[in-house]
Symmetry: C2
Subunit: 338 residues, 2 copies
């Protein structure tokens, strides 16, 4: 997992704090991955957990210097203020994540919305490889749903850092109540918990024979669907139809050329991508307008273990350091060999 780093390397740590898992990467100035780690998120003490992770990473990769930390987090992230607000699925109200990390570690820290961080990384990676697109959207489908959008290399933030929170756009006005309080949000019908809940509902209704347990996980639903279970297939097809509408929405609202789907639900792989691409193809058949909007667009699942959110966070932190210098945070440095 760990690549030896030269003493002269300037390394950045990127951390992607998810509703259930937290991923950490260590990258160098050439965007190369030096180390990665995934742990269960400690929702009760996020700052303590992040500080511990960075300190231990600094210990493992010495004698290199960790110069900057980037944190990708869900919810309403104000990247200028460094705060995270209303991360419904993490049960936080408001957290000065940047200030807390800088105080704890003395290293400049930047925070970014998790889906936006992933979009920034995927866009930068494509540019590094000569595959730049004019617009990219990363659709994160996991415990929650949100999107990050990059247009011509620039992340779309909106007036208040909120741009991309499409998990709470309407998917079905008669749909189930969402965690946010509204009815029928995209997140209420197509997130991991929504898939599990819908499957449990159909299992309880007992209209069709099924191999699913009474309370299946979203992962079990995708596995059973791939094996031909009728109830599981119905749930997956409904989910795919909702996500196809979300992809259409991203293409039409933001005019992006590339949509990359990540998050826990995307780990289903072809069990998700096949019905999703079929649902998108049906929409294109039905509507010349959608066909036109998606004609030049690619839709793909993010590569497994791409650490897109964490790598985006590391990239943002490194770029911020390059533009402001290492003393911007007034930090004392962690594990510097001085």
């Amino acid at each position: 997992m760990t690549v030896p780093a030269a003493a002269t390397d300037v390394l950045s740590v990127g951390i992607d704090v998810g509703g259930t898992k937290t991923a950490l990467v260590v990258t160098d100035a050439g965007d190369r991955l030096h180390a990665s780690q995934v742990v269960a998120t400690d929702g009760a003490d996020i700052v303590g957990q992040l500080a511990g992770l960075v300190s231990r990473a600094a210990g493992v990769i010495r004698p290199a210097t960790i110069s900057a930390v980037g944190v990708a987090a869900p919810g309403h992230v104000d990247e200028r203020a460094g705060t995270v607000r209303l991360a419904v699925n993490l049960h936080q109200v408001e957290l000065d994540l940047r200030g807390a990390i800088e105080d704890a570690l003395g290293i400049p820290c930047r925070v970014e919305h998790d889906a936006r961080a992933a979009a920034i990384w995927l866009d930068a990676e494509a540019r590094n490889e000569g595959r730049a697109s004019r617009g990219l959207a990363y659709l994160s489908v996991g415990t929650g749903i949100s999107a990050g959008v990059v247009l011509d290399g620039q992340p779309l933030r909106g007036a208040d850092g909120l741009a991309g929170e499409i998990g709470h756009l309407v998917a079905d006005p008669d749909g189930p109540r969402c965690g946010c309080g509204l009815r029928g949000c995209l997140e209420a019908v197509a997130s991991g918990p929504a898939i599990a809940r819908r499957a449990a509902e159909l299992v309880a209704a007992a209209e069709q024979a099924t191999s699913l347990p009474a309370r299946p996980t979203a992962e079990q639903v995708f596995e059973s669907a791939a094996l031909g279970d009728a109830v599981a297939r119905r749930v997956v097809d409904e989910t795919a139809a909702h996500l196809a509408r979300a992809v259409r929405g991203l293409a039409l609202a933001f005019g992006v050329e590339r949509v990359v789907i990540g998050g826990g639900v995307a780990r289903a792989g072809t069990a998700l991508s096949e019905p999703l691409l079929a649902a998108i193809a049906r929409e294109r058949d039905e509507s010349p307008l959608v066909d036109d909007a998606l004609a030049r667009a690619t839709v793909e699942l993010v590569a497994a273990d791409s650490f897109a959110g964490a790598r985006g966070a590391a990239l943002i932190a490194r770029r911020a350091l390059a533009s402001t210098g290492p003393h911007a945070a007034g930090g004392k440095g962690v594990d510097r060999e001085q």
Copy 2:
């Protein structure tokens, strides 16, 4: 309607081509309105109609010079190429509007998406008056529905000029078939024709007494609703709920601080704005997340006779001229006093 123009004025014509009406304005370098005109759209010969309108405007306001023409049009507008594609409600497939106007008149022409042109004007007007917002969305609700978004003074175009086409985002997956071919698009449930169709459906169902005719117009629906007609109120409340979700979507997806609603349906005035603001207030009550997103956002109807689309088109044309010079189109000029 016509203000005398000084001979030294450099005037721009802006034209907003709608599904049913076409508006023209003549403005000067200080964004002042010199003349305005509204005619029925001639869908069979748009270029001929626009050329005639500009020539007659040039005749009326002589001896001033019309230096640039901007055209705001619905559909998929490629502002770089100057083309308009797939304007479903205007029954055009592809039109080189910029080339055709420049050929016909010898004046540099720019084309822009109609809702984006309106957003550009409203943003510029607010800046001129010291009321700049960090993000503004113009939601056009008429024969069709679309949005124009300006963030930090920059219009959001997307990779292919398509950004903002939110009329074809899903509003209700079980809703009526849309003109685009899909089911339950926002445009299929909340545009002028959708309001008229829904009212006709409820009148035909005859479950409630109503003063509405068998085939009411959207205008009649708003008028009857304001007078207390139960069927009309039901249609207006359903429309308001859909548009409240669209406003929520604009605030969440783009992070805008100001949403301005225009288009033919917005001419209903308080008969629309009161139920709409009530529906938005209900969403804010239900969801802390939506409350947070809309806390700093203003939602308003565009002022009647603001000619926002046409004025935006004129502004864009004038800005393009300022950056490229009058000879960019190789035009011979119209009505120049040389």
